[in-house]
Symmetry: C2
Subunit: 554 residues, 2 copies
């Protein structure tokens, strides 16, 4: 089997104009970036299309270290819908540069299910992350410039909450002191960088309903507090017009293609812990306007990704998903059943059965949002028939359809059964989406609802500092908003070692922070890494350009 | 008179394919970025063209606070050559984001002599600065990652010379401490950010002769020293392949157009103090291959910009300039003649005459490189006929042709006389370019040569710390390289208040730093600002997006 980049680079791509044409867009409707990428202006996408397409979310079980292949299943599923002539559009997140050089390599699917041009998507793409980094940097510079000047807003230098951001894994920037060097060097204070995917601007970018809404949301960003404890916003720093100037082109969705020639919007890439972890609402809306079936993905497992997709993105965007695909792998269920990573190669049906409780819980959770699930068993070559039957049986127990899919080895052809199963669910019309909780209500009540109903916890404990912050946030107008819980992706609980379907545990909220521009409050249940580090041997070490082509990017 | 952005936005632009076609490039030869920008791959430009075009440098007198309009003259001159059907190509630097939000607004010419689309060129353009910022950040992260790991290269954390870089005016990042936050936060050490235009990668990017040379130059970057004083390079950190991956598309020149429809390569933007201050060699070469006359510009006055253009860029690139335009304004000569800024509105022929010694010195300096000069008097509405005659007379005294040009108000039409005068010089064939000094020789001898012959100084004093560093650099292989002097742009001397044509002064070299990848040694004659700050009311405050268009960017 060739590597992902070998497959991607050997593919013959269609001109992006042909991809655009397949969804009714002419050459003048798109803004080309090279021959295989384009931006579709928001107003073009909005002005097209009749009835919106059917929205299909791809989510998964609690992931393991290897990843369960949600992106790969998403691409394969979209390509299968294309083979079935269902006029699909795929919507995915954009990769972040930092992790590509750090440890993980590319993030555009894998094997015969990839979005292409793979290396361009993984590198600078159309510059959206750079635009977000610039807007973030401008706000940071204007904040410190205000402090350095007479500080007419009376900002407390010890109460600044706006970090700096860069799209790189750089642990040395996590905790820093800025403003040194004497009288002309600014005001000394503690600071730190987050990676761009963790910038609140990324979350805003992915939820904004057009440029005006973008500007309004940017204006509501809380950058810190005055000495008398009042929030200071980006609007008060007069930074918002210029930030919008920096983002005005980036906000337009990026159109590329899959290896199967399916149109794909790859746009926006917020973290799935301190943010909501889905591609931009603008891209999903464009897909729904231009396609008949839209396949999209949420980050991490369904406890985090699907919950936020439903409770944040669908709520804010007025989206009505028609179906959800829950991706499971035999490997992941075995690990959830107690098998160590290095023993995954041997058949262990009992472990699969034991771990399948994790899958069952996610399937039941998806149903709580009124969205009918289909389980996709993402096949690995080491899976045995008995192991796959164990997964299927576990799904039967709870009345769920499970279908084996092979997007990695088979592309769209490998996902035809899955597409047919999803199509049945769409056609059934049984979807009746509803968020888990109303926005009205105390923050703690909403945290309790998610913890009990989705995680299976006995309740929520709030650390004293977090309780104080909750009081403040509710006082300053951030009570009737959704909550965004940052939690380990490996467990339903906040303890990454509690696999399967744990019970008898409580969730501890340690820190609460506002994302007032995005429109939610983030509750952190542990130390959340918003600036990753590089590995001992970073992935960057193996990369090079040979005869103009990228090598070593996987 | 409408503002620059109003003029630019009201222009009807040709599709970039039509501009490309005018210099013999087909649609498949270029990589479009939207409808009015494209990249021209290096190998496409190299494979075209017969005899190289004539290279014309636009330089100027010592600038004043208002700027003397070198970019505007460059655009107008190129458009005048177009009116004369001379198949011109314009080559300019790319603007940096930081100053645009800081104080200065756009940097793409002015009035009726601009490169367009003005706001796109001034904002993210084709992402070159972002690519350079990313490559810079990757090297910084890999350096700190190496320190954090066993540090097998035995890098001295107190002897790291590789800063961090961001394309923003942010004084709070000038001097910082990184690596705080305990055991997982890296190694604490002093650090600081420069603006991306000051990154050595920018200088390398602008001198690299293709991707292989780029990679070799990146590898030679000195990031710091080991505990036993040996230089540590980027190659030793295994960062170079991945940095080249990040830069492989950026290195291709960007093609846009002037308001007069002249093809313009706008590519690369190094500082003119700690670097050489011209657009990329790749772009200039592409222009020479595709056009019959290439108009290009060097930063600051001719003492800094032209000297580096000749001694660094032309030397490294094997370029043979045919003519040089020395831009002067009546205002600048008056200031050089002792008039205060707020008195410039009144006629003062005596002051013009007194200040014209500055212009005479620059004209004579250009001749030292074997390049014939033409003086362009860039007309302002407040100039009087007697003042202009005083400039012309000063030029006559030294046998130089002076021509009044009005690129701002008249575009190419306003520069026809200038184009004709330059054409005469080109046709005369009198150009016989030679660098001022051979690369072989001690660093101090080269500093002396530039200081005496170009600045008119009596000699160079080297501060003790700089002398020690010169010894080290010569020992580690940086003796037989050009010198790049960072000096105030306002005076021939290192004292910004000594205007006109000062004499009886010495130049003091306070600090010397290697740019081993770029291939020169930087000598700083005073505190050089490599990270600007924002103004009290940053230009960003007035910017906004209205109906999708940028407002407030000048």
């Amino acid at each position: 089997m060739p590597s992902d980049i070998e497959i991607a680079q050997s593919a013959t791509l269609q001109p992006i104009q042909a991809i655009a044409e397949s969804i009714g867009l002419g050459a003048a409707d798109i803004v080309p970036f090279g021959h295989h990428k384009a931006k579709v202006p928001l107003d073009v996408a909005r002005s097209r299309g009749g009835a919106p397409g059917a929205l299909v979310l791809v989510t998964g079980v609690n992931p393991t270290a290897a990843g369960e292949g949600k992106s790969t299943v998403s691409v394969g599923l979209a390509d299968a819908f294309k083979l079935r002539e269902r006029n699909p559009v795929l919507c995915l997140r954009e990769p972040s540069l930092g992790p590509i050089f750090g440890i993980k390599g590319g993030a555009a699917g894998g094997g015969w299910s990839q979005v292409v041009p793979m290396e361009e998507i993984n590198l600078h793409f159309t510059g959206d992350f750079h635009a977000i980094s610039s807007a973030h940097a401008l706000l940071a510079a204007m904040l410190d410039n205000h402090l350095y000047r007479p500080n007419s807003l009376d900002i407390d230098p010890t109460a600044i909450t706006w970090p700096r951001a860069v799209d790189m894994n750089d642990r040395a920037l996590r905790s820093i002191v800025v403003g040194l060097g004497g009288r002309t060097g600014g005001v000394p204070r503690q600071d730190g960088f987050v990676i761009t995917a963790a910038s609140e601007i990324m979350a805003i970018f992915c939820l904004a309903d057009g440029l005006e809404d973008l500007e309004a949301r940017l204006g509501r960003i809380i950058v810190g507090y005055s000495r008398d404890g009042e929030p200071i916003t980006a609007a008060q720093l007069d930074a918002v017009g210029a930030m919008t100037v920096l983002l005005k082109d980036a906000i337009n969705p990026n159109l590329v293609q899959t290896l199967g020639g399916t149109p794909a919007f790859v746009h926006g890439g917020p973290f799935a812990n301190i943010a909501h972890g889905c591609n931009s609402l603008a891209a999903t809306r464009a897909g729904l306007a231009l396609g008949d079936v839209v396949v999209t993905e949420a980050g991490f497992g369904a406890d985090l990704g699907a919950e936020k997709f439903f409770d944040i993105k669908c709520r804010f965007g007025g989206l009505e998903p028609a179906a959800a695909v829950v991706v499971a792998t035999v490997r992941a269920l075995k690990m959830n059943g107690g098998v160590a990573k290095d023993a995954l190669g041997s058949e262990d049906v009992a472990a699969v059965r034991a771990g399948a409780v994790n899958l069952q819980a996610h399937v039941e959770n998806v149903r709580r949002f009124g969205v009918p699930p289909v389980v996709a068993i993402n096949r690995f070559t080491s899976d045995t028939p008995a192991e796959i039957e164990a997964v299927t049986a576990a799904c039967r127990e709870i009345g769920a359809t499970a279908v084996v899919a092979d997007p990695w080895g088979g592309g769209g052809e490998g996902c035809l059964d899955l597409a047919d199963a999803v199509q049945s669910v769409i056609d059934s019309g049984e979807a009746d989406y509803r968020p888990l909780y109303p926005t009205e209500g105390s923050l703690v009540s909403k945290l309790e609802t998610v913890a009990r109903e989705i995680y299976g916890a006995d309740g929520v404990d709030v650390a004293p500092a977090a309780a104080t912050e909750i009081e403040r946030l509710e006082r300053i107008g951030l009570r009737d908003v959704p909550v965004c819980i940052a939690k380990t992706q490996y467990s339903f609980s906040d303890d990454p070692t509690l696999l399967g379907r744990p019970s008898g545990f409580r969730i501890t909220v340690r820190e609460v922070t506002p994302s007032a521009g995005a429109g939610f409050v983030v509750a952190k249940t542990g130390a959340v890494m918003t600036m990753p580090g590089l590995a001992a041997r970073p992935a960057a070490v193996g990369m090079e350009v040979v005869d103009g082509a990228v090598r070593g990017l996987f």
